[in-house]
Assembly symmetry: C2
Homo-oligomer: 148 residues x 2
DNA sequence: CATCATTTGAAGACGACTTTCGTTTTCATC
DNA sequence: GATGAAAACGAAAGTCGTCTTCAAATGATG
């Protein structure tokens, strides 16, 4: 009745072709954004971070906050997750490893979770299914003990 | 330096307060959308589904596609995931259980994955951390054997 | 110091999704 | 079959997060 065979395939192919290089220079602005990210505990949105910076007297632009956060994610110094609403949240990553977090839906606090078991399981899955370059994102949320 | 303590908390609190009841009546439009969803294999976006329907001669509106898909998700007859870009993708769910899928990044094909082990692990995590009402989303993607 | 490349930020574009609101359809009840 | 209230419909407009554009500012390099 409806031809849908090709549509699904296209979904993962399209990318805005953003060829602009990122963060070649270490600048005061970027440092400022990174410091703010480190200072904030739990995941924050770009907008919230920007609002906080402005409220604290900075004159950084929202654009720059987006670019700085993007650069941090690209270089592995920040993690990002999607809030159910679709918004992206950022969090500074001290270490280098691939991590997952458990986020409190009430207070926003987050704590890293030991996902070794899941990682193993995913590796086994890649073997079993014959899928190559298997990536996964795992998002956990609940109501933490203090908020419950 | 920056006051961020409260911002994160707000992120999960805001909801548009959409109290409108969903899908009380079986209508031709909803059936049409559901049929299209069933017919398409792999995950599709609301927009792609709408485009396909229109291309096939239907005069269904995008609004209705969104509402119909929302209703299907709410009643458990469809699964939804977020594409990295932020778009929501839908897929018809034959059974009733909570499922996860492994999606091919090239062709969009998806296959259900047995996540019993992960489910158990998540339950254990809820116990260990003291978090209540623990929810999780797991998104798996790779390059399937046929595309590799 | 002159030149050239990169970064910045304001404004506006963009895209997915939702709301609004007047019209149409459904369906339980006559 | 006819009636009518509740629910669904869809076009248009609105919302909201994010990205792009471009002129101006800033920093590096000759």
């Amino acid at each position: 009745m409806v031809d849908l065979e090709n549509t699904a395939a296209e979904l993962f192919a399209r990318r805005p072709a953003d060829r602009r290089p990122v963060a070649r220079r270490g600048t005061a602005r970027r440092a400022e954004v990174q410091r703010a990210l480190i200072h904030s505990d739990g995941f924050v949105s770009a907008q919230a971070l920007h609002a906080a910076l402005v409220a604290a007297g900075s004159r950084v632009g929202l654009t720059t906050v987006y670019r700085a956060l993007g650069a941090l994610v690209e270089t592995g110094r920040a993690d990002t997750v999607r809030e159910p609403h679709g918004e992206r949240l950022y969090r500074h990553r001290p270490g280098e490893e691939h991590r997952h977090y458990l986020i409190c839906r009430t207070c926003g606090r987050s704590e890293p979770v030991d996902t070794a078991l899941v990682e193993d399981w995913a590796r086994g899955l890649a073997r079993d299914t014959g899928y190559a370059d298997l990536q996964h994102t795992l998002e956990l949320s609940g109501i933490c003990g203090r908020c419950d």
